[in-house]
Symmetry: D3
Subunit: 262 residues, 6 copies
């Protein structure tokens, strides 16, 4: 993953308390990456979702310069009940995720920061994070927002990928980004079998009914999409594209526009 | 609202316990309407969102005949923090909504029913209900699903309405349905002022960032869309169209298709 | 149920937010009906307890005129564990009921109202509601009170009924009121079998020991009392009598007198 | 307090684990005294309510012989928010009392006992304990019951007392029992001022409205009733009368009769 | 146990509210004894741990004179899951203990006191009480501290005992103190068998790994140490020694020194 | 940090689900590192405590070979309320930490693993983790244990360090290990000022009283001990020594010996 002198100075855990106090005084935005530790087929490591959320945040912090930004350590466990039958998967209850985000965000606010953006990397977290941002905004009287890096960069994703329009699961997209950011963790020998049904996160033609579906019932190999089409070059474009989109949003002031509920 | 001999026999509260035991034995589906009690401008009553969810469920129960269906009493309080500044608004915390749905759904299951479909009528509930359906499916080991009537009937909504493509808030759509279902509760004299910005629930051009926006900051009159274009005839088409769409989904077996998380 | 131009203007859900803001400014009292959805023998609908609490509140609001009063939507689920074996019954845990009342009452207070009276229609809620009013008064620093309509009107009940002194369950009293308020929902053909043991809510000769008794162990048909003696005329007298008693209490200022704990 | 070789063998804390295992095998009933630590005027110690619940339990255990009985240590803190303004008072929230009773009762059941009777000595606990017994019966699938010693012995109380019909607060009744059971803790010099309004726990003529009343607003000295009429002899009659009534109930099988909810 | 005119005036439950208000005004320290009700072999009563915590507090209150001190009623149930297999044992969950201490401490603070010292008598509570003191200090913004009487008096314990260096369980130490404080509750005939392995609470040579060990797996008789060496004389020295140590700490101002976390 | 082909195959997040299923079948032990993100003076990054817990786990996994071991991602937030005044610090409530550990450990068990060892790197977590291991063992019926790496390796720490006997805070020990494991994150220019009072975690001469002490009140610079004596060579010895000690404990079977509560 991106780890050099420049990113180093963007990561909360790598900074000293005096440095963080200064950043808070300069009204830096805190990016809080959140993903999941869950099965991603036979070719990708279980940490993919939080690795990529973290990676996009690191790149965003550099690209958004000179906007002051701090990247908090990644929340590596999300909502993954639907992947539990595969093994290798960790999951939280909604209540625990709520409590964890409440305490972490409250601490960030007590440290003097005033703007927190959760950057999500796991499809299964999306709906819960939107609901929790509403709750936490009210509970903490704070300026919170959430995005998923694959939503922020949906245009570049649609342009770069060849076998799919958006991120699925252990697919052309995630595998490409893994090949770009941590190639040593991709089991390339397993990629030939890494094919599954196309399952969209927010498809336009989907049924209007929402219910919980065990992932193994629709994708027995744990893969949605076609990882065989993945390349590191595509991954690099995706990561940079998503980070650029996010940096643009931060520059535009993400709290000034947005999707409202009615 | 729809209240005759036929609908009467579809409403849980109107039925006797022996009748409900029989319906459970016939594997009837329970529709659980959920809405909100919240400001809807100067022309609509605060109960609109749950009135309409309830109305669509009553119509669906008739249209889906001979599928056995029971309509539970409507949950009339949802998540409406963003409307609190207007007054007249009631809201639950996410935890309380979770607990309430858990106890009501558990009771329905203990009464012998095996399929529950939440039918939502409030935009501000959508994301939380998806997240809660995931939790409750796991907590109760049950077959739960959720839809919003305006998502189920999105095609008819787009066709019937003239000033908007989908339901907004106290808008052409909601006002039309109110004029059709409970005209005596619409303050028609106030409709001339019932205009506000277009705020879509799931707009395609919206920012990828989600954050909580107080409704009064974007729509000072409490209205999104243009109620002046509302007519009872449009409302009748909308209600029937949404109910027909829902009945079709029930006949197709809503738990057999669906939008998955990855 | 009572539904005309006059009651319409007393129901929270039917009012607009601007109207509710005005009522709050005039220091209107909010009546919050609470009942249960539970088995009531073979002749009465499961919603009886909340239908009647709601009905008494609507009548009270008219009779108390010109005192400003708003009737909130009825809480239709209470504590009914002891009726669960009959089927058709919904129940909350004490914690969930606590949370629900806390959020609803807090919302009412935030909407500017200062006095809330819970009006109960279910015997199984009585003891819990007293305890919760104590808790909520302290938690919300608010002026809350609770009554059961059958306690407020106990004198008229004792006078009107012939086979019992007070309200039992699916009995002469409840059946009479159902015949008065929603006769179309009473299965009169089943009334001949609607007889059970006399079980008093607050009997003077009862054992000083309190424990939870499954209702089916003492009343296998789900009825306590004798519904055969019910008539719509008695029901009308009961409903008006209870509403008049409640209106008198409101005029006298219910928060100025009361039953204290020591 | 009653403390001799015979009572000693009835108290859980005084017994060894092997003795308690034997008692569980003989299906002994566990009496769990519960009271309050709260202001009782200038003449009585703050522990009166739990001292007396404990004392009645000790006497009951002897009088019920040869029924096997164990008296658990007294729960000395209850619901006393309404006495907090006087100082010297401890109180629990309803949630904490629920959790405490759940854990203690579950432990008693795990120790092999099958019947638990809560014996209450504090008016402010009555309504909550009834509600909690309902919850705990369902949560623990256990045989629980609750009584207040002054309800069990209401007939003897009405007969013995001269200035009141039942127990009030720091009154003729409680002061008499204190003079009988722990005279060294009564400040007799203060008794001349220990007079206050008559406040009944379950008065027949009280308002049907229940709301929380700060005790200092109705009884500025913290006394309800007239302690000047108290004597140790009356106290002895009361304690023995209540314990005899309770022993009779235990012999009759308290779980076989009872006050039901409908 | 120590019960005379002097101790009487040190016990919260024995004092009147006006007396407690005065003590609060004089900034008295509140000692809150906490122990456990759990098996202690065949020779000791199950209440030993809270009896001794209470006893040491009573003696401390006298020895610390003229420092103003109040002893709250003892919390007689702690964390004893590891003793449950023996029967006769009561235990709380950590959450319940947290809630109970929160409510009791908050009440003490509301009564005007500003310093609370928990005095523990049960090894199984130690680690949880330290953690809870941290939480409660933050939650209540209060001055709380905790000690175990056997830690405060560790030097005298090491000097007096012959077969062990510190308190174990139902051992030479606890049995000696029981013989001194409540000899009538010791089954002396059982003492000959009251021998078990040496299990230290804070041994220097123990493994650095902490895990939960069922007590019956290491001490089948429920005894750790050798009760045969116990005498009432040793017990008197221990109780006075621990109380003297505690009184010295109170005089020195326990909140001014202490063991910190880093 | 240690990151090569060998450690890579020991990290849960880096492994695929099929690999983790195999490890579960071979009864691998899961090490769960837990630390804190908190101020560590002006010379160390805020992540030190979790960096070091993670580092020791990685080394242990290699040294314990061929014992099968998996290292879970580090829990980077612990209990750090006492460091909040310095800024740059994140903290959880005890309840949230409990919920987080419960969900993560339950997931690990559901993934088929049977032994979990929490490896702690933060003094402020010690007492809470012991208490939580007791709770979780009972809640999950599982084999859990906890150690702190500085307790496991206390002998090597005492031998290697020159100005202190054990780990303090941002001290000779932590700074040395930081210089060994992540030298690029140490602000060496700040080390000259990195001196503070000696504060031991488990000092022998400390007061027996435990209370919460804000760290800034005793160490205004946020440092306890003398970081000037730190060297990378000492750090390497410490890390290897602690990991070796932990590997030895794992080989000996950490669940077979241990420190018990009585």
């Amino acid at each position: 993953m991106l780890e050099n002198n420049m990113t180093r100075e963007k990561l909360w855990s790598n900074l000293t308390a005096p440095q963080l106090r200064e950043l808070a005084e300069s009204d830096a935005t805190v990016l809080l990456p959140i993903g999941s530790t869950e099965q991603h087929g036979g070719h990708l490591p279980t940490g993919v979702d939080y690795f990529l959320a973290d990676e996009v945040c690191r790149r965003t912090a550099l690209l958004a310069d000179p906007l002051p930004i701090v990247v908090a350590p990644p929340i590596w466990c999300g909502l993954a009940e639907h992947h539990m039958p595969f093994g290798g998967t960790l999951t939280l209850s909604l209540n625990t995720l709520h409590a964890l985000l409440r305490d972490v965000c409250r601490s960030i606010l007590r440290a003097g920061f005033r703007h927190i953006l959760l950057v999500n990397g796991h499809g299964g977290n999306v709906t819960a994070l939107n609901a929790l941002v509403n709750e936490l905004t009210s509970e903490l009287s704070a300026s919170l927002a959430v995005t998923s890096y694959f939503t922020a960069g949906s245009h570049v994703i649609a342009r770069v990928l060849q076998t799919q329009q958006q991120i699925m699961h252990a697919c052309e997209g995630e595998t490409s980004m893994a090949l770009a950011a941590f190639p040593e963790l991709v089991r390339t020998a397993e990629m030939a079998q890494a094919v599954g049904p196309a399952i969209s996160l927010q498809s336009e033609d989907s049924s209007p009914i929402y219910h919980s579906v065990p992932f193994d019932s629709i994708a027995p190999r744990g893969v949605a999409g076609d990882a065989r089409a993945a390349t590191g070059d595509k991954g690099e474009q995706l990561l940079d594209g998503c980070a650029t989109a996010l940096a643009d949003l931060l520059r535009a002031g993400v709290w000034r526009n947005g999707q409202e509920t009615s």
